[in-house]
Symmetry: D3
Subunit: 139 residues, 6 copies
Amino acid sequence: MRLTRRYRFCASHRLHSGALSEAENRALYGKCNNPFGHGHDYVLEVSIRGPLDPATGQLAPVGVLDRLVNDAVIAPMDHRNLNLEVPAFAAAVPTSENLAGEIERRLREAWPPAFSDSSVALAGIRLRETKRNSFETAS
Amino acid sequence: MRLTRRYRFCASHRLHSGALSEAENRALYGKCNNPFGHGHDYVLEVSIRGPLDPATGQLAPVGVLDRLVNDAVIAPMDHRNLNLEVPAFAAAVPTSENLAGEIERRLREAWPPAFSDSSVALAGIRLRETKRNSFETAS
Amino acid sequence: MRLTRRYRFCASHRLHSGALSEAENRALYGKCNNPFGHGHDYVLEVSIRGPLDPATGQLAPVGVLDRLVNDAVIAPMDHRNLNLEVPAFAAAVPTSENLAGEIERRLREAWPPAFSDSSVALAGIRLRETKRNSFETAS
Amino acid sequence: MRLTRRYRFCASHRLHSGALSEAENRALYGKCNNPFGHGHDYVLEVSIRGPLDPATGQLAPVGVLDRLVNDAVIAPMDHRNLNLEVPAFAAAVPTSENLAGEIERRLREAWPPAFSDSSVALAGIRLRETKRNSFETAS
Amino acid sequence: MRLTRRYRFCASHRLHSGALSEAENRALYGKCNNPFGHGHDYVLEVSIRGPLDPATGQLAPVGVLDRLVNDAVIAPMDHRNLNLEVPAFAAAVPTSENLAGEIERRLREAWPPAFSDSSVALAGIRLRETKRNSFETAS
Amino acid sequence: MRLTRRYRFCASHRLHSGALSEAENRALYGKCNNPFGHGHDYVLEVSIRGPLDPATGQLAPVGVLDRLVNDAVIAPMDHRNLNLEVPAFAAAVPTSENLAGEIERRLREAWPPAFSDSSVALAGIRLRETKRNSFETAS
């Protein structure tokens, strides 16, 4: 059994790689390289899997999942400038690929003992940047 | 090739486990423990997989799938009180996890010979409780 | 300028009119007359209109609107049985038409002075029962 | 007859009013007052109305509408920082209310002669900031 | 009170006006002038308004509305070629504007006595050609 | 990491198999066997997977993917009659299953060297015929 729960947050970012020249950055990232930044409303889906608890009929208490996602991801990223306010993006470019990777890393690091104890594991995340693009990790 | 088809039904339920005290039930299920019940519009996605029939260019006739899902799931659950009108939930708590499990069990039990004969198998189901939560089984 | 804000709540109900016979009730309401009830995830859109406050660039603080809608509608109706737990439906049938009317009446009765003082008025509500049906009042 | 056409653009902004103190700004705009900005994916619906051209069976060529909206709104706002790159928001706060007003003003100013000549008028716009909030003007 | 109910149908069409030259047709309708036709999944929203029946708590029985829409619109248009199978489009171009007008005309002509008797009137229709375009009539 | 990107196109088709009698065709395909054809707005999701490029923080430039999908699928199919204008459906029935297979075959054949060189592979496609039906291939 697998449970997927949906969250939303908005943030601004600028795509610019220190490994590339100004011209290469403009060619690669186009409008996303605009020095003043732009923003998105991200949709984050977090999937967990594990056995059902027969007493409760649930995979896991959603409150525990919500606290995890809120503390590790939403609170530090919602209504933020990713380049300036999320340490991982001081060096790495805040593309949606890197953002998905960072979110997954944060969820793993903060994985609650209540989940580990009952064999509830992260199954993967999906980050929707816009209606047209989404990024998935499978665990 | 995999075909996913979407169905809808609405039902009411109350989450309350006989294995837990009143206080534990209230703490665990929150508003869902309200003794008078509440309801949802469930979205059910049923996925099947198998080889294409070269004569028809189809995986399976959707009419056969619709009859299966209607007879096994929609007719006995739509506009029903799950606790009082679906026998499986006389004992088990009608959480979405248990509901997804019950739906999958019913589909397997009623799997039509026309599907078995042409190697069309259930690939899994996804039950969306609300926009925020969905539950998947993989077969 | 008009602002529309979306809320969600779920509830169960049974459609049965004391002014009609059993047979008439079954003929009129069909599956919705099931004595054990069923439920829906309602989407409620509340629209307000008024002049912009030049200092804030806003029509109204959304927090005031959220408190109004929560206190007058969501808290007393979410995860409830409308027939048994909302006094208006002890007598009236909890059709979506009557539910929309009751929601509008509650919003008017609890209209906050902060809104009246700045000429912010209710423009209307829209209640979506399912993807297929919605009900609107205009004020 | 009325035609509504949907566009999308993303932008970043910060809500901060020079008419208010730092503390008032924080209290009023909350997370949206974050000095480093944040962003949204806006959905813009533009509605026009007028008589049908009997030769073409159309209200207006959508290409003319698309050019208008692109030149007046999308090109100067998409992937931009509204505070720093859209002159109207050097002084005014880029709330969605003010942004909707600015978009309507730009459409009126650039209204094409081809539309005026055939009595095609702006019927109004709707700006969706997020799934929860939208802002409408009627003309 | 206003009730809006949503229907779907799919059809193919070709946009070509006998009042225009081949070159004008290609310039005006672009890909929609392709001689072999193309198709859409239309979403049709029908809105009715009227007083509530105090005995039933309903504006109108939805079964009556469904039969009207099915008989007058869905049955003769669903899975059809609009140019070849809907008489109105032997002469008129099946643009969405003309299709919306034809649908409204059909609903008015077939308006059921049960609705007229209880003062239930057509409030308007909305025809969504694609996610990007919709066409509305107000009555 | 897996990136899914969404495209849309509309087309008309008729379901009719030369391997079946007229009566069998009508029984099997129902309204979709209508000799004058009908149409759909297809949603196509293309998923690719591969390693991230550390310099750009991207899986692949979306421009390369867009050109591939446009040249191999959208340009030859959008606003077309699949039976008459797409060679594969001169013989095969343009069911959504066969259409999904044809789309996947075209993407593989035109797979760009820039993707092969950086180990970016097709992960699968999903073709949504309507809100109710979708078809997936996994690679």
